[in-house]
Structures are given as C-alpha cells and as structure tokens.
C-alpha cells in the first residue's frame, strides 16, 4: 500500500515540524507503507510551479520509495511540455490545485490536462484542502476544492484515473453520486479526512460506494500520519478486512 497524499516542503501559513524527505521515508516505514506519491507543498502556492517541480525531483532522487508527483498548471503556457518532462522523469501522478490558481469549476484547461494525463497513463491528483477551514490564515482565501470542480473534470472521462485527497463525506458523496457508474470507476478518494466513529462516515462510505473507490493517504507532513491507520483499525467488525484500491499497481 502506498500513501497518495504526502508532501515535502514547507507550508506558507504555519510552521511544519518535519517537511524533509528523509523524515517522510521514516514515517512511511513506521506506518507500514511501501511508498508514497509525493508532492512539493510550496509549489501549490507558486504562480509557476516549474521550479518547485525541479526541487521535488532533486530532493526525492535519493529515496526510491518516494515517487515524485509534480504539479502541472494547465492554464500556464506550454504546460504540455512540462507534463511531458514530468512523465519522462518518472512521475506516476500529477498534482493540481485549481482553487489556489483561481481556476473555477468549469475551467476547460483542467479537462484538457485530465485527458492528457490519461493519454500518458498517469493519475491526476486533486487536493480538497490543506487545512481545516476554521483555522485558515487571513491571507489564505482560496477555499476548499468544490465538488463541482471534480465533477466537471470527471464527467465524460473514460481513461484517466483521478484521485481526490483530503475530502470529507459531503464532497465525496456529492461527486460520486453525481457521476455515471462508468465515470465513477475512474475517481478515487483518499481516506485521510473522513471521520470514523461515532459518526462512522468512513464505514458508511465503504458500504455505500465500495472499498475499491478509496485509497490510503496521510496528508503528511500537515497532519498526523497515524490518522488513517487509526480510522481503519476502528471500522466495525464486518469491515475489518476491506481492501482499499492500491495505486502502486496502476
């Protein structure tokens, strides 16, 4: 199992204790994970993420279990070249941050990027949020990724795997049940921000949507990496043996 929701690098709105890749590698080992799709956290807030991508590839090079998931901004000139370069350098997934870039739910460029990712055989990864809405810095005005933005990309998609990280039950259900069965087959959700007992929202979603719609994610270094493990450990008995989708085989 791999962590689809991991980062290196600092966060602009608060201090993070251990954003370095060596610590991430140790955390993954401690949590019993085989590796991670790793994003470069500062790049989410850069206008042009290209320099951050270079930093990401360089920083992860000594760590074979940490797979770079660089960032492609589809409203940026010549993004196709950046995508091709990322794929040439071995990226299994591409990260996007439409709210941070001011891209609305109907932005056509995101659909173009989604299609290009499918052609190249890489996964498109959204991040619903980095922090709880109630603690945002006054300058952090981007807001959460909307369900509409995910639906707009997922509708009509028949080739590209889409992973949405750090979403909660409301967004997940609004997207999932707003897609056709064929479209749903390409959308996956990391479990890092889904509530466990007593609300038991993870259990509910596993029952209603199926475990194969969900992937493992921690949101490290922003959040405690133990959280998804705790959530799985507290599932009701009949769900104890559920198997999440495993992106390492994609």
């Amino acid at each position: 199992m791999i962590d689809t929701n991991a980062y290196i690098g600092g966060y602009p709105f608060r201090h993070i204790p251990h954003p370095e890749p060596a610590m991430l590698a140790r955390v993954l080992e401690r949590e019993g994970l085989d590796g991670a799709w790793v994003g470069h956290l500062p790049s989410a807030f850069y206008r042009d993420p290209a320099p951050g991508n270079d930093e990401l590839f360089a920083a992860l090079a000594p760590h074979p279990t940490l797979r770079p998931a660089p960032c492609i901004r589809p409203d940026w000139p010549d993004w196709q070249r950046t995508l091709a370069s990322a794929i040439d350098r071995g990226a299994p997934a591409i990260r996007v941050y439409p709210p941070q870039w001011g891209l609305g739910a109907d932005d056509a460029s995101m659909r173009s990027l989604c299609s290009a990712c499918g052609e190249a055989g890489v996964t498109l990864v959204f991040t619903a949020r980095f922090e709880d809405l109630r603690q945002r810095h006054g300058m952090d005005q981007a807001g959460d990724l909307s369900a509409a933005a995910v639906r707009a990309v997922a509708r009509g998609n028949d080739r590209t795997r889409i992973v949405v990280c750090s979403a909660g039950r409301g967004t997940i259900e609004e997207v999932h049940w707003g897609l056709t069965p064929a479209e749903r087959d390409f959308v996956f959700w990391d479990i890092s921000w889904i509530w466990g007992p007593p609300e038991d929202e993870l259990a509910l979603l596993l029952r209603t949507m199926g475990a194969d719609r969900f992937v493992y994610g921690t949101a490290w270094p922003l959040r405690l990496a133990q959280t998804p493990r705790a959530n799985l450990a507290l599932l009701p008995d009949e769900l104890k043996n559920v198997k999440l989708a495993d992106p390492s085989s994609w």
Binding site: E131, D132, G196, P198, R223, N231, L234
Partner: protein, 278 residues
C-alpha cells in the same frame, strides 16, 4: 473483536470530552451513535467516558443556547446513560449561564445525582461575570469546568457565542481554586494562539480532542503547558483521538507523563472519579 488488545495499549484511559445522544434529540441516529462510541471505546481501551449532552442537540432549542427545559432534558438523558453504565460513564452537568439561578440549582441537583463536572458551551463568553457564580460553585464542589472553546476567535461564528483561550484564561485567573478544561485544541481555529494565551495559567488544562490532527499541535501543546496540564479526549471523532494517542508516544513524553495525559491528570482534578484499575 472482543478480547483483543486495546489499540491504545494497556493501562487506564479516560476520555474527558465525550458526548451521548438520546431518543427524541436532534440526531435521529442517536442509538447508533451511542453504540458506536462504546464499540470504538472498547477497541481503543477507554476505561471511562466523561460525557455531556447539550440540551436536545438543537431539536427544541439551539445546541449552544439551550433553554432551561432543554437543559433539563439533556441532563436527564445523560444521567440515565451514566446510571446504565456505571462501570464506564461519568458525566458533566451541562448548563446555560444566562439562566443563572436555574443553572446553579441544576448543578446542585445533578451533582447530588452523580455529576462530577460542569459543562459550559457557548451561550455566554467565558470571561463574562455571569459565569462567576458558576465558577465559584464549581470550585467549592471540586467540579472541573469543561468549556467549549474556539481556538483564536477572530470573528463571530454562527450558532454560538464562542470563547477562545484568552477569554477562558481571564475566567481561570479570577477563580484560581477551580479547574478549567479548555475544550478540543483540535476542534477548530488556531491552537497556537491558545497555547500562548494559557501558558501561565496553572488551573487551566488542555483537552486534546477534536477532529484536527495537525502535525506539530501535540508537540506545541506539550511544550507550552507540560504533560501535567494535558488531558486526553476524543469529542466526536474517536479516530483522531486514537491517532493522537499513538502520536503522543513519539513526541518525547516519558512513561509517567503519558500516564498523566491518559488518565492521571483527570483522576487528579476530578475528585469524584475513581482511579481506573490498571
């Protein structure tokens, strides 16, 4: 999974911030929620849930502005649950300080019936003098006050007169003989503001509960107030509570300090709580 080792490891564990629900309250799935708390509590290894019910949870009056009738209704239900589960449930009497005379009578009545603490939510700001008689009564009776807190209140939030750490600190300074539990440092807002506000208030304790699991939050809480003023709790997300217990084992607490956070501090400030069996 009965009989399997507790996920949080052996030893006593007190959740100082739990909630239950009841038939007719604002949550139609009340029974499933209660059962899920007990189920997860058994898996984690929670020895005692110290719980409260906030009125009717919004059905007949707002959760954070409960009417006297709703306050009574919620405390009745909480008392009944505690009486059904004397082995694992203790409880706070929840009151709305705006109905001051009623609140004081309710505290006296419920303490006589077994309540071991007072729950204040968000019907009045924590530093309002209206809370003084309640704090005095709590100090006299050895009743810790669990106070709902928004970590760094920068504006009004709908549905509550939220207080923050600085507000509660002012109340705690006025009542040095009372013990105050600042609710859910992971429950929303900027916890680092809270840590700075309460660092030097010895009768103010931090409850670790809430859905927030920011990396660094526990380290900073420990650095700010020390292990003697941290209390473990889960509130409405037991999964994050378990994750925090696992994380506490990695951030530098000694074995004795971990025991303090898990149960020792709670057993010390709740005079009416039995020391759990080891």
């Amino acid at each position: 999974m009965a009989g399997s080792a507790p996920l949080a490891g052996p030893g006593p564990l007190i959740d100082v911030h739990a909630h239950f629900f009841f038939e007719g309250c604002g949550r139609t799935e009340w029974d499933a929620l209660n059962k899920a708390r007990f189920r997860a509590g058994e898996r984690i290894g929670i020895s005692i849930h110290v719980a409260s019910i906030l009125g009717s949870w919004g059905r007949f009056s707002p959760t954070y502005f409960a009417s006297p009738a709703d306050t009574t209704r919620g405390n009745d239900a909480m008392q009944a649950i505690a009486e059904q589960h004397p082995d694992r449930v203790r409880w706070y009497v929840a009151v709305n300080p705006n109905d001051t005379a009623f609140a004081l009578e309710e505290i006296d009545r419920r303490v006589a019936a077994g309540a071991i603490g007072v729950k204040l939510a968000a019907a009045r700001r924590a530093d309002d003098t209206l809370l003084d008689p309640i704090a005095e009564r709590a100090a006299e009776g050895g009743l810790p006050i669990l106070h709902h807190i928004w970590q760094h209140r920068r504006r009004h939030w709908p549905g509550q007169d939220a207080s923050d750490g600085a507000d509660l600190a002012r109340l705690a300074v006025r009542h040095p003989k009372a013990s105050f539990i600042l609710a859910h440092i992971g429950g929303g807002g900027d916890y680092r503001h809270t840590f700075a506000a309460v660092r030097d208030i010895p009768n103010l304790y931090l409850d670790l509960s809430g859905s927030g699991v920011d990396r660094g939050m526990l380290d900073d809480a420990y650095a700010a107030v020390g292990a003697k003023r941290l209390l473990w709790g889960a509130d409405i997300t037991l999964c994050t509570g378990l994750a925090k217990l696992w994380a506490l084992e990695l951030i530098g607490l000694t074995t004795e300090e971990l025991e303090d956070v898990r149960w020792g501090n709670a057993a010390r400030i709740f005079r009416r709580i039995p020391t759990p069996d080891r």
